[in-house]
């Protein structure tokens, strides 16, 4: 843990003094099934013309860190920003392979998925130190007070990494922006629908503010 702290300081030093804007890492973090990969795909399709990863209604579809390098976006006033987009596996405190069995997977496949999912969570946590800015993607239809959300955001704050909270799935009736805002009053929360592209243009403008 002491090593991790030293690494954080070192990374921040390197970022500040030698950091080049094209190496900027923008991370997508959040619990499983909040729509991180759907958002990553939307960003990649809008600016690169191809998707980043597969999406699924079943949790833990993304089990490895996925990176799309050198995405260049433009703001309304013509500014340009280049970054590497890092899509991370959903962070969870429990992984039960029986849930995958219930979804119709064979026992071997379910066990493999659970094993890969646990490794994915560990990798996502390890990558926290590498990020320059993070969008925490939450499912606006779910309880925002989940400890995983609080832990991710608290850790980013402790590491001094800029955070934008993205409340995804606002196209759904059950979505509550108010609840997400009430849970994290010290942060700006942007409601989007990554699936239908709602407010995604606003999100690009926020990315410029996030990394300035």
């Amino acid at each position: 843990m002491a090593f991790s702290f030293v690494k954080q300081i070192f990374n921040r030093f390197v970022r500040e003094f030698f950091g080049s804007r094209k190496d900027l890492k923008l991370g997508l973090y959040g619990p499983p099934n909040s729509g991180k990969t759907t958002l990553a795909n939307k960003i990649c399709i809008d600016w690169v013309g191809e998707e980043l990863g597969k999406v699924s209604p079943l949790a833990h579809e993304t089990r490895e860190i996925q990176i799309k390098e050198q995405i260049s976006i433009k703001s309304k006033d013509g500014k340009e920003l280049m970054f590497n987009l890092v899509d991370t596996p959903g962070i969870a405190t429990r992984i039960d392979y029986e849930e995958f069995l219930k979804a119709g997977m064979s026992e071997a496949k379910a066990k493999k998925r659970a094993r890969e999912a646990t490794k994915g969570v560990i990798d996502a946590i390890k990558w926290l130190d590498e990020m320059d800015a993070v969008m925490v993607v939450l499912d606006a239809t779910q309880d925002p007070y989940s400890q995983v959300n609080v832990t991710i955001i608290g850790n980013l704050q402790a590491r001094d990494i800029p955070v934008l909270i993205v409340a995804n799935k606002v196209d759904l009736k059950k979505a509550s922006m108010k609840k997400v805002q009430a849970a994290f009053p010290q942060y700006e929360v942007l409601g989007i629908s990554a699936k239908y592209g709602k407010n995604v243009k606003e999100l690009y403008e926020k990315v410029f503010e996030l990394v300035k």
């Binding site: 843990m1 405190t93 429990r94 946590i125 009053p185």
Partner: protein, 129 residues
């Protein structure tokens, strides 16, 4: 009827331990199918380390944990109350609040909102007649 055991852990029991020692102590209790009620909270980086270690230990018998930290909600206070709360926080440090850690096999979910906490335990798979 399923028995649920709650183990109360005063902050003094983890105070002198290293970060990994604290995590091990909490996780070992949870792995005995007990729900830990810890006075106070772990440090932010210890919380992520707890998740990491939990993931490393998941197997057929141990499916992980449910975790919740209840902290005095500072953002709901104003003026003098907030100042008072900040001063108490400065004195007590990580002793403030309450941490609940339950094994995923026993605790299905912990629902938290600023004023209440609901602990949903797992249903029994088979009922004895």
């Amino acid at each position: 009827m399923k028995m649920v055991t709650l183990q109360l852990l005063p902050y003094t029991e983890i105070e002198g331990l290293s970060s990994i020692g604290r995590i091990r102590k909490l996780l070992n209790i949870a792995k005995q199918d007990k729900i830990v009620l810890l006075q106070g909270r772990l440090r932010k980086e210890e919380e992520t380390e707890l998740i990491k270690v939990t993931m490393e230990e998941i197997n057929k018998e141990f499916q992980g944990i449910e975790l919740a930290v209840i902290n005095p909600a500072n953002n709901q206070l104003s003026g003098f109350q907030k100042l008072k709360n900040d001063m108490i926080g400065a004195v007590l440090g990580d002793r403030q609040g309450l941490t609940i850690i339950g094994p995923a096999s026993v605790v299905k979910a912990i629902k938290k909102d600023p004023n209440k906490i609901e602990l949903l335990t797992s249903e029994k798979k088979k009922r004895k007649r």
